[in-house]
Amino acid sequence: MTTQVAAKPAKPAKPATMAQALQRAMRDAMAEDPTVHVMGEDVGTLGGVFRVTDGLAKEFGEDRCTDTPLAEAGILGTAVGMAMYGLRPVVEMQFDAFAYPAFEQLISHVSRMRNRTRGAMPMPMVIRVPYGGGIGGVEHHSDSSEAYYMATPGLHVVTPATVEDAYGLLRAAIASDDPVVFLEPKRLYWSKSDWSPEAPTQVEPIGKAVVRRRGTSATLITYGPSVPVCLEAAEAAQAEGWDLEVIDLRSLVPFDDETVSASVRRTGRAVVVHESTGFGGPGGEIAARVTERCFHHLEAPVLRVAGFDIPYPPPMLERHHLPGVDRVLDAVARLQWEVGS
């Protein structure tokens, strides 16, 4: 007699949000390494204003997940001292524009401590910065400040666009022996994926871009909150006969010239897409790098689709500022470039 055991129905993967993936990355890192400390305004009892640190203080105690006084320079400055004594602080700057008071610590100390001490005193820390717009935030809650960080030698600058990468990149950032500015696209905090908090996890190496969509007619080079925009644009362009490749940079510093150049050499055309302002923004650097490396393969100038060169607008106007699908498609149309046009 054979016993029929009903097959246990496979547990449907519970969709997780980017915020949950980030939270699990911190929890796993804290569980594995007692030197990992999370600190910032509201990260403890409240679990962060975006709930990204939810539960960490309860699980690891307030010494490991600490509500600090409201003072960004103090938060980052004390984190420097903690790192000097062998801890790995994970610092939260509640909103992009709130991080500015901490810039002196970041630029004068965090970024250059390894260098100025000839490698004797590394700064293994993560500075988590929720950044970018599209959530209806009022003034000082929607800046894209990546260009400031990119211009500072000694910092890594990383930004995930998917739930999976949010986990994988934050784990890598915490494990890094160098300071990592970890830009969290806040309008993707509640984006979901099939990734489940119980799923096997992967740590992504910092500095590697990924091709999100294969294509042959042009390359969209983007990162963070603009990745879904570019993927949507690529789908829409298909109807017009454009087969677009979409590269998610994931890391702005170090920059993955190899993946980007290989793509543009194949497609011959490129558009850089980001929310940050265009003038002096990341797109200028990226376009220059692509031009320097792929000039003979280019069929058209490298174009940029960026936020306007204005202070971030009030929420009721932000849709006019943020680069959306139409603006990307307009740029793609301009790639049918002819000499003299």
Partner: protein, 386 residues
Amino acid sequence: MDSLQQRSSTVQEPPGATPGYRPTPPPAWKPRTDPAPLLPDAEPFRVLGTDAVAAADPELLRRLYAELVRGRRYNAQATALTKQGRLAVYPSTTGQEACEVAAALALEDRDWLFPSYRDTLAAVVRGLDPVQALTLLRGDWHTGYDPREHRIAPLSTPLATQLPHAVGLAHAARLKGDDVVALAMVGDGGTSEGDFHEALNFAAVWQAPVVFLVQNNGFAISVPLAKQTAAPSLAHKAVGYGMPGRLVDGNDAVAVHQVLTEAVARARRGGGPTLIEAITYRIEAHTNADDATRYRGDSEVEAWRAHDPILLLERELTERGMLDEDGKRAAAEAAETMAAALRERMNAEPVLDPMDLFAHVYAEQTTQLREQAAQLRAELDAESEA
């Protein structure tokens, strides 16, 4: 008494108030505790010239004297090196040696010192090789020593930014169960910086084992204290953070040492941070690039010369029979030996490797830096072939 009560009831009951209505304080209000214990004394604390000297450890007094003499010679030698072009710049602590010496001697080996750019002498007294201490000012590398080996943070050029580092390090040490104290040094000008405020606030909230030593030398480059703060003293600032403030004669080495030692001990036993203001004077200009005659008069400088830290201690020890001509000569000779060695070593050209420019930016060089390193390598090769 009656009139007082009457007046207070008048204040509490505004005209037209409902009879019997008594406004209550806000719900969160806690009755004020007396801040007096946190307030500094009216006069700067002094030991020299009092009976307390007799109770002091004679060994300590002689050590302080010898270090002051050596420190003065170190300042003179470093200043001379700027004139010879061997140092790019030197911010002298001539006249402030008592603060520098006492700061270093108040610490145990396991403690940490967080100096500003002016505090190389404190690092040297703590045992750092003077050449390593001067590397930043010579210009061959930013920090010439391993901070962990000596437990001396890099000299901080931005003002007061090293203070939160001291708080974080002391906090981390306590979390790890180590009884380590951090001593953070800052000038009077630095107390106006935001980082000064944030550091003191964090330290008090966390009850971190930190001692803040403000060397009030009268000027932030050219700006006098009166234009820097309206506070009765810099030590008064402690009260607002909930930590004690101490005021000390910064040229009385014994007093500074005592106040610092007490604050360090208090921090070590879990008593929290202390803010100490040492009142002293910078006899030399801000650096060799500064012209102090534009903002202060000779008579002021002369008055402080009469209150010189070495002079004060020497007189006291001589009068008490604790220091004789042999002792003075021995201290002077030790100082001269140090200066001669420093001079000789600083006259040797430092050996620099330009490839170091790329060696320590990141743990692992980025592709971009590897490319730039290759470019420099090629330039160097071309130079050596030419």
